[in-house]
């Protein structure tokens, strides 16, 4: 059993961002010649990728490049048509997925109160406890909204709740699919802070964004995807200053890449 406080939401157990988290045995994440096709169209082509346990990995690329599919393949929401996805040598299954969580572009909140949305995952993981729920809501700045219907929250609050709910499962890996694309700058900042705090406690973050500023603020390494292929995987500094591929350079320069 890993100690519960390592990825605790309270933040009093912060560890060095560069140290591997408690979920180190899940790494490296290895995609070996992964492809995915639907309706006869190949959408992901022969992706080879290895991700380390530390930090935040950003997946970037134009719309339709296959970023969301790649994220879903890593999380096991969809199965690859070819190739394998392994986590620390383990095949993707419920045992692995249970140690991960995902926040979607549009938060999927249950038709219940804010508190009940948190209770749902706590019960699911067998740790229902009003005290812990309060801590989680406090941390997300939602304590005052506990009894409100979740779906009447503002867009930013809804995404914050989705984040808090995902982190309530104490995941070793947090996936985010453009979590702030519909949010204003202030709400975006709050989401980024929560993500950063989680990363600093050792949770691996893998997320998609089109927001160049956000990528620069959060990324430790960047995976650039174009037309279903990974064109480049570099440390953030290198990627933003000297991208290896012309496409990535053009993309960052705001050019439309085809």
């Amino acid at each position: 059993m890993r100690p519960a406080n390592v990825v605790d939401l309270r933040g009093d157990a912060a560890s060095d961002a560069s140290a591997p988290g408690a979920g180190a045995d899940l790494f490296p994440l290895v995609l070996d010649d992964v492809s995915f096709q639907a309706g006869g169209t190949v959408l992901i082509k022969g992706v080879d990728l290895t991700l380390p346990a530390q930090g935040a990995t950003v997946i970037m690329g134009p719309n339709g490049a296959g970023k969301s599919l790649l994220l879903r393949l890593m999380h096991g929401l969809i199965a690859p048509s070819g190739g394998t996805v392994t986590w620390g040598g383990m095949p993707l299954g419920e045992a692995v997925r249970k140690r991960q969580a995902m926040v979607f572009q549009r938060p999927v909140l249950l038709r219940r109160s804010v508190a009940a949305n948190i209770d749902f995952v706590l019960r699911l993981r067998g740790r229902a406890d009003p005290g812990r729920r309060r801590e989680i809501l406090d941390h997300a700045g939602l304590a005052a909204h506990a009894d409100q219907p979740a779906r009447l929250l503002s867009g930013g609050e809804q995404q914050r709740l989705a984040m808090a709910r995902a982190l309530a499962t104490e995941p070793d890996v947090l996936f985010m699919d453009e979590p702030t694309s519909n949010l204003d700058p202030a709400s975006t900042l709050v989401i980024e802070e929560i993500a950063k705090a989680a990363r600093d406690r050792g949770t691996k973050i893998i997320f998609i964004t089109h927001d160049m500023g956000q990528a620069r603020r959060l990324a430790d390494d960047v995976v650039f995807v174009h037309k279903g292929k990974v064109l480049e995987h570099s440390p953030a500094e290198t990627f933003f200053t000297q991208p290896a591929s012309t496409e990535a350079g053009d993309y960052m320069a705001g050019k439309i890449i085809l």
Partner: protein, 235 residues
């Protein structure tokens, strides 16, 4: 036309005077139909939720059958239940024919497909929204059904209401398996049929008014509940 006016007056007299025979009939009607609704609801909602979240070979065929059975003719259901419960039938030993229990069974069978088919559609739509998040959280199938049923609770009330309406309004099945026996299996619809053929329009009309009033009251209640739920974005 004179008959009609007189019948109305007598009907109101019976209602206002809380006529004992009338109350007995209304009470039995409610008991039979509500019990049938609870039984059919328990099975129908589980079945609907199961069909909504699972995929297996032959599922499409089952959906076609369940959907078609929504239009089951009450007399056919009555006939089948009659054959099952009659002394010569496989369940004859239970001695249920011409009892309220037989009527409950017939009505439950009649409305089960309605509840199963409508709830399946509703829960499947909701599941389309939740599926990916549930998969991400590794929610087990049984748990998924419970959570979906709970989140669809207000819409499912309308489904249950459709079932209750069908049960209360039908006459074909209960008259066959209940026999319309005075003080025992006489419900509103069977009494209306009987009294109309006997020419006692007042009692028939009185019951008709009660039947309508109950339907309106239940509908209004559920609508109010749903409006509240919508305001809270729970529906």
């Amino acid at each position: 036309m004179q008959d009609f006016g007189a019948a109305f007056l007598t009907a109101f007299d019976l209602l206002i005077g809380a006529d004992a025979a009338l109350l007995e009939i209304i009470g039995l009607s409610l008991r039979v139909s509500i019990t049938a609704l609870l039984a059919a609801g328990l099975i129908g909602l589980s079945l609907g939720a199961a069909l909504a979240v699972t995929r297996f070979p032959g599922r499409g065929f089952i959906l076609v059958i369940v959907n078609s059975m929504m239009g089951l003719p009450p007399v056919v259901v009555g006939l089948v239940v009659y054959m099952l419960l009659s002394n010569a039938g496989p369940l004859g030993f239970l001695g249920l024919l011409y009892t309220p229990e037989a009527m409950i069974i017939a009505q439950a069978i009649l409305i089960l497909p309605i509840i199963a088919a409508l709830s399946r559609q509703l829960i499947e739509d909701l599941h389309a929204e939740y599926a990916e998040q549930f998969r991400s959280f590794c929610v087990p199938t049984g748990r998924m059904m419970v959570e979906l049923l709970w989140d669809a609770r207000y819409s499912l009330l309308t489904v249950m209401l459709a079932g209750l309406g069908r049960a209360m309004a039908e006459v074909g099945a209960v008259i066959i398996v209940g026999g319309n026996i005075n003080h025992l299996t006489r419900v509103m619809t069977t009494t209306i049929a009987l009294e109309t053929s006997k020419g006692d329009l007042a009692l028939a009309l009185g019951l008709g008014i009660v039947l309508l009033s109950i339907a309106i009251a239940i509908n209004a209640g559920v609508m109010a509940l749903n409006a509240t739920a919508k305001r809270q974005a729970y529906a």
